[in-house]
Symmetry: C2
Subunit: 147 residues, 2 copies
DNA sequence: ATTCGTTGTAACTATAATGATTACATCGAG
DNA sequence: CTCGATGTAATCATTATAGTTACAACGAAT
């Protein structure tokens, strides 16, 4: 295929940092944790803003959650930053030969089945909230500190 | 994201044509139905060969199924032509800051959850055989013929 | 054995998405 | 007004994909 971009994992990373300390969460600071350029962070935060997940204090800096952690699912984040809209994960070859009975009908048949597969994936993402994820993260952090 | 390549849909198209008439299935002929270049078809057939799904008569031409239609699932085709191996659909940002407790642990936590989502999608693909798909295709073809 | 259509690949090109970076106008608190 | 931060445009390198040309090797048919 071509995997999903890293935007999704960075977006989750951003939200985790924001949930830990909103006022410290400047693009500069988050970029330090993600280890990338601040502009990358600002672009992804821009997507999260459009999706209504966060607000940003322009000028001053800092990013704030618009919802509680348990009201944000991985699917919300996925939808906010990935280009694929619902039902569009799979690509189809553009112009099959309409004169061929197979070429004429393969797309609609395949599309129906692919939509089921994509929906199954999205339902899994919908079942994980950021609250759960941050909770798993802090368990892991404690383990790391111990070991 | 970046969608899956069209290789998957072309591969299913190819197998559908082959199941309809093996000896007619030269790369040239299939390319006519898919409406692309014969080399594209040969490259994908090459992947299908490596996966053991088909055999090709070099020199003479023609592509032959190695398994029955109901023994080939969409997951088999997906695995044959897409680059992503099991558990690798999602990309992760490469080098988060290990000094940050979030950066140090986010990947493993996220990876676990993403694997569940990917597996759910693959299980859906595993439940559709080419036999079912070709059957849906011929129903559709009859409808189209009727008008 | 030669011919002819086909396969199997390599090589090259164009296009598009991504990630990174620089630059700069604008915002807002102090 | 100043200073740090945001928002965004522009540019660049890298990579995957899709398409195309070219050509050696294969195999059946004559």
């Amino acid at each position: 295929m071509k995997k999903f971009s890293s935007r999704f994992s960075i977006a989750v990373h951003i939200l985790s940092v924001v949930s830990w300390n909103s006022s410290l969460s400047t693009s500069e600071f988050i970029a330090g944790s993600v280890n990338t350029n601040p502009v990358i962070i600002r672009r992804i935060i821009s997507s999260l803003k459009k999706a209504g997940l966060v607000s940003v204090k322009a000028g001053t800096g800092g990013t704030y959650l618009n919802k509680e952690l348990d009201e944000i699912t991985l699917l919300d984040v996925y939808r906010a930053v990935e280009v694929a809209q619902q039902g569009e994960l799979f690509n189809f070859h553009e112009h099959p030969n309409p004169a061929c009975p197979i070429g004429a009908n393969i797309e609609s048949v395949l599309r129906k089945n692919m939509l089921k597969a994509q929906t199954a994936m999205e339902q899994e993402l919908a079942q994980v909230t950021l609250k759960q994820l941050v909770s798993e993260l802090s368990e892991k952090t404690v383990e790391t500190a111990k070991g």
